[in-house]
Amino acid sequence: MNPSMIKKGTLAVFMLGIALFPLFSTNDYYIHMAQMIGITVIVTQGLNLLSGYAGQISLGHAGIYAIGAYAAAIVTTNYELPFLAGLAASIVCSAIVGLLIGVPALRVKGHYLAMVTIGAGIIIEKLMHEGGEFTGGFAGINGVTSPEMFGFSLTSTGLYYMIIISMVLITLLLWNLTRTRPGRAFLALRDSETAAEAMGISRYRYKLIAFVLSSVITGIGGNMYAHTNNYVSPDSFTPHVSIFLLVMVILGGLGTVIGPIIGTVLLYLLPELLKDFDQYHLIIYGAILLISIIVLPGGIASLLPKAYRPKEHLINEEELMNMGLEPYEPGLRERTENQENVILRVCGLTKRFSGVVANDGVTMSVERGTIHALIGPNGSGKTTCLHSISGLYQFDEGDVLFEGQSIASLKLHEKIRSGMARTFQHAQIFKELTVLENVMIGEHSLRKTGFVSGALLLPHVLKEEKESQKEALRILEWFGMKPYAFAKAGDLPYGYQKILEIVRAMAAKPKLLILDEPAAGLTNTEIEQLEEILLKLRKAGITILLVEHDMRLIMKVSDAITVLDSGRVIAEGTPAEIQNNPQVIQAYLGERKAG
């Protein structure tokens, strides 16, 4: 039996099992437990989207869970409005709270982000305590009715089915989302924010969407919690609950679609198994967590061989490899009216770092269709200049014109749409993704799939995905990297990672390609390959702005060279002119001392 049949069989048995469960179990306790597991899977799937895919670890999700639950309880019990009004309230309130947490969370990373989410969780819990009659204080709100829709009242079994169907739907939608363009943008941000932005993915937009989407899903879980338990109280949403939610996701497998399901089921059943140990059970629980993360950091999902896991992408490797590909020609984004000879003009660019002047009135122009090198001794401000041009730094004075238009106000992620793409000094690739996916992210700014159509996996989305895969493979073939298409990018040798960055940038069809030390860390053979690539790209009409230390390479490929020293332009000209320029020689070798 092949893995895909086993996978389908297991899925069928699982679905049949949860569909028929109420027929076999008449015990209310078990039905209630199954309901709670279903609700918790919804919540952990929401958390997984934020923490596993978008890379924003949240230790405050119980707070958002609480918002969904209280919104439902307040609207349906205090105001006696129908179930659907409560559901709408849960969704709207959790979205707003998600946005409120997302905004400060945008400014911080790592430990600081963990603290913001913990803080938000505690603030929400305490507000529930202090809400007086509105939230019922310590006692919470009792007597939340079972959901009623279109004249039906859903009690135990009916409610179970509602929860299970929602759980399956939400899991499916998220699974689709993470396998299409918007989901890849999340993964790109998770692996390298800078590179993702350079590929046209707005960090602010996508992170906020991740917070809001994750909160809405969690809020829906909260809504069902209120109607299932018929009461809400602050005790159900303590910081401990936030921790347990995250633990479920990590134990199951962070950033995998089945992780939250495995983790939630296990951590719900574990206390049942440990019932005999009563007072020791939390200690054993802690010990199991401790050991499992040490032994199995990828979570239980990582125990399954890859072929037996749900696919984390829509790529059919075999079909793609055997597909006849039309040859690729490096193309430009649609041509503009502007055909001026100078494509990039930097005028008097000055950038200061708290007193240190890194770039002092740098002026240079790059001509269309040439390879223009920017050289200078270490610390002369070359990379700073590239960062200012590409929007990573805000410069203090001067202007940058691209095809005659000022691009000074454009942010890093907006530059790619005007037709410039860049690479980084230390290869910034998306290490956890495959080479092919890396290149597909390069196409981000050229593709259209949005969140709704991606989650629904509409036919045109599927078509666009296939096109995108094919295009990525064609580009990889042109660069001689097709054999590595399905390798994990982080496993490539460093030289190939640097080439991959160029491939990825080319996938955006830029007019101007900015390369920051592409030859650094490459072997001699690799540098020869790089040289060939650069010449081929120029032949195809791509303009290249190059910062590089390898003089042999520069002298061979450049049409024009600008030399920086201490942040100032000290020379400009053809390779031959630069080689004989006394000022340049002095900058590189220092003053000639007599005697």
Binding site: G52, G55, I57, L59, V103, P104, R107, V108, H111, Y112, A114, M115, V116, I118, G119, A120, I122, I123, K126, L127, H129, E130, R190, D191, T194, P239, H240, I243, L246, V247, I250, L251, L254, G255, Q279, Y280, L282, I283, Y285, G286, A287, L289, L290, I293, I294, P297, G298, G299, F353, H387, L392, Y393, F424, Q425, H426, Q428, K431, E432
Partner: protein, 297 residues
């Protein structure tokens, strides 16, 4: 509202704040060598309080002997946490993140809390003031000497730790390990030892924080969570790794809390820390004293 009442509140705030500063310093010491947050710090505080209480009221040890014993015991727990929850998961990645330590230290905190629950139960136990208590009058305000002692003890310990970190050889080893662990190793510093030491020092400092705070708040096996999180909030507000920042942010938080508790509602007391925290981070993402570094790509 009399000025003496305000003064009294101010002093109560400074006292709580000095304890928060100590807890924040306990986080900072481990952060500086490992760049992780030890989520079991709150439980160290709890253990310090309960162990001392048992020695003093259960076995009639003099307080001044019970305190160092508790410090040493909690320091040992710190080393155990380093061995089991930090060392095996160093650099282990979960979905591209180095976050295994979040789970291991949280798991340890669950274990420690529940072991403590088995030994001491769940009740809030009253703790006698370690240095006795009487009331003195200061500018018309009645001030409990117990508070004064706690404040002074916490502040002195905080300063001692600052001296330890900045003026001694141990401090230099910790700083070297913090800045570049591999380079420190090349220079002959046994960084695994330095890291274990930082967990031990952090355990000892947390224990003192617990001993000092318990006469004010009572001691219980569940006290660790909130004080631990507030200490973390203070460490973040002060800028992770900054001792001066921790002391200042701790005192600010202590004062804000007491005033919010008495002017708004006691229930809002615990919210203050986290509202303040989010406000600080929204305005200055690296904390009050953290250095803003423009990221190099």
């Amino acid at each position: 509202m009399t000025s003496s009442f305000v003064l009294q509140l101010l002093f109560a705030g400074l006292t709580m704040g000095s304890v928060y500063a100590l807890v924040a310093i306990a986080y900072n010491i481990i952060f500086s060598t490992t760049h992780i947050i030890n989520f079991a710090t709150g439980e160290f505080v709890m253990l310090g309080a309960l162990i001392t209480l048992s020695f003093v009221t259960g076995m009639n040890f003099p307080t001044l002997i019970a305190i160092p014993i508790a410090m040493i015991l909690v320091a040992i727990v710190g080393v155990i946490v380093e061995r089991i929850a930090y060392r095996p998961v160093q650099g282990v990645k979960v979905a591209g993140h180095s976050i295994a330590w979040i789970i291991t230290t949280l798991a340890f905190s669950i274990i420690l809390q529940n072991v403590a629950m088995l030994i001491w139960g769940k009740e809030f136990l009253p703790v006698p003031p370690p240095f006795g208590s009487s009331t003195i009058s200061f500018m018309g305000a009645a001030i409990d000497t117990n508070q004064l002692y706690i404040f002074l003890a916490a502040l002195i310990l905080a300063l001692l730790i600052e001296i330890l970190l900045h003026k001694t050889y141990i401090g230099m080893m910790i700083k070297a390990t913090s800045v570049n662990r591999r380079a420190a190793e090349y220079m002959g510093i046994r960084t695994t030892f330095v890291i274990a030491l930082s967990f031990a020092i952090s355990g000892g400092v947390s224990a003192v924080a617990g001993i000092l705070v318990s006469p004010l708040t009572f001691a219980s096996s569940t006290m660790g969570l909130l004080i631990g999180l507030k200490g973390f909030a203070v460490a973040i507000m002060g800028g992770l790794g900054s001792g001066r920042g921790a002391i200042l942010a701790g005192l600010i938080l202590g004062i804000c809390e007491v005033f919010a508790g008495s002017f708004i509602s006691p229930g809002y007391r615990d919210i203050v820390a986290f509202v303040l925290l989010i406000a600080v981070l929204a305005l200055k993402p690296d904390g009050l004293f953290g250095e803003a570094i423009q990221e190099k790509a």
